[in-house]
Symmetry: C3
Subunit: 675 residues, 3 copies
């Protein structure tokens, strides 16, 4: 869709020639071509350069850069430069600066420094986006618009407080409804005037470490802040759209970033783009899950890998080099999960400030005779050969895993029952259990249509939004397999408990009642004791963190607790409901259990892996509209690894070899088998 002008996997990344002399840019352009780099993201942080004061705009430097790139055959991803405001603006209009969580008014510095409800910021960010759109809307080099940069961070200033009150009036209409939704009878918090409401930070209802004393207020502030930043994005989006009706517009997201509800943002992005910065010790499957989440934001539409590092980061504790082959491996991992671009931060390393030790295609040495450049160039040439092969092809998953930012916030904010519960970790446990068996999943939001899936897994679905339980019931009734876990069905979207017994609105479909919830100390565990051998599951498995004490109310008990005073109570149940099944896992199990359980459920649904699982080898398939499939096989191991292909055979698009029966992949090798 976005590839009209350049129908291949875009290759390139962030580029800041304004930090350099012109001679350097000549060298860069030469090397871009050497490496097969065809896209440069520019103008990300040039606001102060283009607008040296309130009344002056000067884009001649940008004209020059774009024209030179264009002349070189390099396309442009054009940013709007509003990711950090100029110093003169902070001085003249302090409302652009944020008040932080501690209540401190900031001066000038860092990134992410603009208050999203600052009238000044809104006015001038929209204005410069508009000016850029007017100027470059028809430039042949421009492929796409890149609004601002990595939106994030909250503000607690008086402008935000006012905007929050307005936002609340829209949401609740009356204070009476707000008081009810927020449960303000507790601790005498009743509000009699909208003006009495203040943003929740350390000066009011929160403490550092995601601790809140009024969850519903804190939840709404997160929604409001996510919306406020989205409003800033939309202002720029619309300004561009007014002048440039056709080019796609996006902003670069940050994967699992906590503070923004990306499912609410996604409709306003023409294409999802995101920045992928795994560490040496990030589990491979967590990166895959994040790609799948980004893909899920727009229901499977391919996305852009907007940033990754060619070699190392600067902001991690220990910034290891990407080992030989890893950059390419992780690039194809992105493509395997739906990316249609591979872009770096950045093309040339900065010589100063805080990102000078962040890797780049062109290192400080300045020439092409480096390992990093060679690997980048090798990939660049492979991508040229791949041409438009996999573009727009989709991942066809039959399992959906629910990921919900509002639920995540609510769990994080909860006071009790345990600090050990981490929503992302719990989701990842289920994802990983499938991943290890070469079974693909979509990460889906709470608005995603469930009808396309055979299995829907909703780990720790603590918050059940209005209508969602009904949709789950319909899905199961129609034959779907639904699975959820301990600490689910507890609250509504205001974090108010659904009375009448946990898991609340899900109780009916699950056929159980959770009477109590036990929190285990980190050195404690319980066991999941299978009632009988079942597929890959037999005997007993460890579990912990939380243990729901449940009663079967119609559900069949598949396993019970092995110890403690609730020994013998159900820990795994399945409820037949219409044509389908609803499963409940009452505690957080060890991986072996989850692999067995999900293996069984997939087997029931006839969901199979394209090839048998081999440790360290990842498999992902994309299928295009012509039903051609591309099976990506990625060897994450540090040594050569042999896989058995079974039925699978076809041509490897990278090597051109025809692959069948079995194959031995060298360390970090990737196959893209066209079948």
């Amino acid at each position: 869709m976005i590839h009209a002008k350049l129908p291949k996997i875009w290759y390139g990344g962030d580029y800041n020639p304004e930090q350099w002399d012109k001679e350097v840019m000549d060298e860069d352009l030469r090397m871009f071509n050497l490496a097969g780099i065809d896209v440069a993201t520019i103008n990300v942080f040039s606001w102060a350069l283009s607008q040296p004061n309130e009344d002056t705009y000067d884009f001649t430097w940008l004209d020059d850069i774009i024209n030179r790139l264009h002349a070189n055959g390099t396309y442009v991803c054009l940013a709007t430069s509003t990711g950090a405001h100029p110093a003169w603006m902070a001085k003249k209009y302090p409302d652009v600066c944020r008040v932080d969580f501690e209540g401190r008014k900031h001066k000038f510095g860092k990134r992410h420094n603009s208050c999203p409800n600052s009238p000044t910021y809104r006015t001038y960010s929209e204005r410069i986006a508009e000016k850029l759109a007017e100027r470059y809307k028809d430039h042949e080099a421009v492929l796409i618009w890149h609004v601002s940069n990595e939106y994030g961070g909250y503000c607690y200033c008086d402008h935000c407080a006012d905007a929050f009150r307005t936002w609340l009036q829209t949401r609740y209409t009356t204070l009476d409804q707000l008081n009810k939704a927020w449960y303000t009878g507790f601790w005498g918090h009743t509000f009699y005037d909208w003006e009495e409401i203040v943003p929740p930070n350390v000066l009011s209802d929160e403490e550092p470490g995601e601790r809140s004393f009024f969850q519903s207020i804190s939840l709404d502030y997160r929604r409001f802040m996510s919306d406020s930043l989205l409003d800033c994005y939309k202002l720029e989006y619309n300004a561009i759209r007014r002048h440039c009706p056709e080019l796609p517009i996006t902003t670069n997201l940050m994967g699992l970033y906590k503070e923004l509800d990306y499912f609410k943002w996604a409709p306003y992005l023409d294409v999802i783009s995101w920045d992928n910065y795994p560490s040496l010790d990030t589990p491979v499957s967590l990166t895959s899950m994040t790609h799948d989440l980004m893909r899920g934001l727009k229901d499977g539409q391919p996305f852009m890998l907007m940033e990754q590092t060619p070699s190392q980061q600067n902001w991690q504790k220990y910034n290891s080099l990407k080992r030989p082959g890893v950059m390419k491996l992780w690039s194809y991992q992105a493509v395997a999960h739906g990316a249609d671009t591979i872009l770096f931060f950045q093309l040339r390393r900065s010589a100063g400030a805080c990102e000078k030790f962040h890797g780049a295609v062109i290192e400080h040495v300045g020439h092409e005779h480096t390992r990093v450049f060679r690997e980048c160039a090798e990939l660049g040439h492979e991508l040229v050969r791949l041409s438009d092969k996999v573009l727009d092809a989709r991942v066809k998953a039959r399992v959906g895993i629910v990921f919900d930012w509002e639920n995540r916030w609510a769990i994080g904010l909860s006071s009790g029952p345990t600090i050990a519960l981490n929503y992302v970790d719990e989701v990842h446990k289920y994802y990983d259990a499938l991943f290890q068996q070469n079974i693909q999943a979509d990460l889906i939001g709470t608005n995603t249509d469930l009808t396309g899936y055979d299995i829907v897994i909703a780990p720790v679905l603590y918050m059940v939004k209005d209508g969602y339980a009904k949709r789950v019931e319909q899905f199961v009734h129609a034959g779907g397999t639904f699975l959820t876990t301990f600490f689910s069905g507890i609250v509504n979207e205001h974090d108010r408990v659904t009375l009448g017994g946990y898991p609340g609105e899900l109780r009916n479909v699950l056929g159980i009642w959770a009477e109590e919830i036990d929190a285990l100390f980190p050195d404690q565990s319980n066991q999941i004791q299978l009632n009988e051998q079942w597929g890959g599951l037999d005997g007993s498995y460890k579990c912990g963190i939380l243990c729901d004490l449940i009663h079967a109310e119609g559900a069949e008990v598949k396993a019970v607790y092995g110890t403690d005073f609730y020994q013998g109570m159900p820990v795994l149940t399945v409820n037949k409901y219409g044509a389908g099944q609803a499963w409940y896992v009452a505690s957080s199990p060890e991986p072996a259990f989850l692999q067995g359980l999900l293996g069984n459920l997939c087997q029931d649904k006839g969901i199979t892996a394209p090839i048998p699982p081999v440790p360290g080898v990842e498999v992902s398939t994309r299928t295009n509209e012509q039903n051609e499939s591309f099976v990506f096989i990625l060897n994450h191991n540090d040594q050569a690894t042999t896989i058995v292909l079974g039925e699978l055979k076809g041509t490897d698009l990278i090597s051109g070899d025809f692959i069948e029966n079995a194959a031995t992949l060298s360390a970090k090798q990737v196959l893209i088998i066209e079948v």
Copy 2:
């Protein structure tokens, strides 16, 4: 004393029907009666509800609730609702909001949010207490007044600064005396005008983590803050008393809570009440010690257990369920140590905000068919059967352990010699050594009369207040056994060192001189080497944290250090003084040593246990004015445990069985043997 209207162990707890519809309250009332619940604490956080603005008070909702409770046979513990101020008040009169330790002025939120020296808070909290007293003083349902809630937290605003200066003028009369007491010659801190004095926080003389650069200022600020909050309490107390001359008045304390000097508060409470929230890993004996401390605040007068959870907390890291039988066991533990009420927080779980995962008698499911409710009801019925049996009975301990908040503050604030010294831990070590031998102790303040005791133990009596050393001398001279430890007798009440050799004013009675104080690293230890076998003590024991290098000056040396350059110097001494003995333990010993030592001392005094100690079994005896005794035997073990009763025999008030010779208690079982 407090039980005139309801002569039994009151049973019930906090109740917030204003958070619910009326139908829910009907259900609650039904279930209260099912469970034997006869007391509800209400109106704790309803200030905003009763006073929606500055000029309006409306208690009709409260009338209704009290009347409905009364009609149901449920009595009322009536709170004054001033534990958190309304939002409108914070908006209109910001002086009610605190300035925190970091110097930040707060807005609205959380609990404990009122400045104790705020004119607004003082005016309006007194006024609403007065209005409540006028209205409900004669209501038959009301048993007792509950002022505010869990007083605590400091403020550092300008109102507090002014009040601090006034408080200091009263205390020191002249700046000259203040400068002397505070030792302001150090670091050029001399004050020439009262206005130069500022509250000690990060903006002046303190750092986070209880670090002070001027201990005497910090100590006085703690005294002042404790007094300021007490003044708030007294304003309400007097307002109530003006209208309601007879009903008891209390406020709920928090056991070992650090910030308030409860011994200074106790005279103004008609009955001590407190909130008991042990964690799964809280030592049993620490809970017992805390009960004994609360009992000691008013010289042994029985107290109220004002709050405990039926099942779990929400604010701990890992909120484990109370195992079956534990709630009942811990309830009787409170009674065994002097509680004459068993009240919960709370009777019905909140549906929203930050305490919704705090356990309650009635859980979110809303009915009585839960384990928690069943256990509560079982206890309720037992308490009905107990009737007025143990009411007002006293614990008759012959050992007193000194606990002093000012000493605790001073030790905590001390810069050097070690950060490893924790006052409460050291007190608990001595308490526990007795506890493990079934020997009861009173926790006593520095004003408590010593003449009733055979043994007085004062661990780490760093601060010796004016006249106290003389009282210790009199106690020992008259035949008492006194024991103190390393780092004692160092300073006076202004944290000024008593010159002339440690342990200062105690040197005479102890017959020793501590020349130096060595601080050990956490991985270091020394040994206590007995000079000869003595009772249960023989050989060598570990010690650490601090090691005083002492010289005997008349005292007999019972044990010496085993290693380091002070090997062979005394570590345990006893000084004969008049008819008594004064002991000095020069380091912090391992438990086995303390059990042996205190066992010996008790044996000397003929203090014996009612039954021989059995691990995990706690014994406590209450005796009433008719000299009837009730021996509580509590099995804290997870398994059945047999005890040998020896001479002890009598009827178990819970089961009605006659017990003699020996008994086997099931896990968590309690006996109350009337002898």
Copy 3:
């Protein structure tokens, strides 16, 4: 030089008789004489006492104290009392109070509390110094001036912001040059007006934990703050000098203290003085290195030990006593490295406030019959016997180790490649490798003349200042041996990367190119594999933290990496350059490797130890102008230790014994062999 009036090692320390009654001072004077104490540092914190308000100065108390000391034969080190401002000044002129890193304006309290750019502080600190100088300039008792106390701490107030801008204008002349130096094109930080620049703290470009988002700004702020405090010092220095042309003037430094660039301070101190507070677990060689650093500040000129504790500190976590003999051992350690005074903090322990548990010659007991006093007196008498023997003698080291505060700041501020890199630790590793072999080193600054050295070691010379590479080239070309390490030659003094390949300006002399820099996790390591046995080096050694991936470009490869994808790449190289050698150590090695390497380099240069190394025995030699040498041999072991003397023989100045062949030193014993 400073010893004209009192030609011996001065002995005494801080003394605060103004905290005491006169009778106490009489006792003190008696005991000073008992202990051989002949110098008292007074008036350190007496500003508030001498100047009770803006218009009044009263030094009569000080006259009295000085006269009494003088009459007793005790000399005076006279402080200016400006180490903490009076409370009345903070109240009347809040500009004297600092704004801290968090942006909080402080009130009154603590130490180090004055803003260095406060007009009030500058005016009044200069004025009182001047008044003191006028009054005491000719007093026979006064030996030296002690300006303020332990300068340190930064301020971020508006006065500092203004002064910073002025400082920057002087440094950069134009904003254009500043923008270029600071690399403000990054993240749109371009400044168009000086007023837009704000101090870097949490409200702008820094975060706690030495994290900066603009290294060049943060670096300049550190330089500016160091200069600002130095300006304060210079104001007082000049005020004194105007009246008192001859007496030396100093201020007490703090060894490795991070915030001040002591090499920039040193020219303004007539003699270096510093405060030495090792902990029980401080490596012996780190204390020695710090002495050598202090000696290096003025190119080897002997220094003053201005403070140490006779027994224990108060501000460490676990304040262990100095074991018997340790105080004396560490005192001679200072002398061995160039100290010509031994002064304590303090002579009498304070009775109140936060340093009352800091050790003193006279303890709280108040008499001389303590272990601490006895040891102090023993040392005092030895120093009397030593007379002027070692005064002004120099340490003649042939190895120089570069220590640079600006480089240290830059490394600390760096975002990436690792948080594990600690500059001081890396310098200490090299120092310790020599120390363990009884080879002495000078710690030298980047302005120190290199020509006197055979070997110059510059660990982690990340920042190479203008002209320094040229000086290194000259040094090597002339025959010197230069050694540097990984992560060197990266940036210029503005923290801007030197392009064209690491190690930048050092690449030529080193003959290598560092292509990449790998950061290892704490549990990772690599190996240094020797190509062949070489002197004490053979086989393989561990290394870690960072691994430069280097290519030899003319340099000889002595060792290669043992594992990982850069196995076989060089890790130790030597480049012949002119008559000398330039070494590169590409990772951080284990101690055994460094001992072998530096042993080999010293052997090549004919640098030998005076006696063979024995574990725990330190050796240091001072040589005077008459070429008499004093070999200090210090036994840090807890047991007697035998050393072999070889050629070395002479009279031990402490015992008077003639020592030759071999000697057995008792635990903590010191020999000073005159040869």
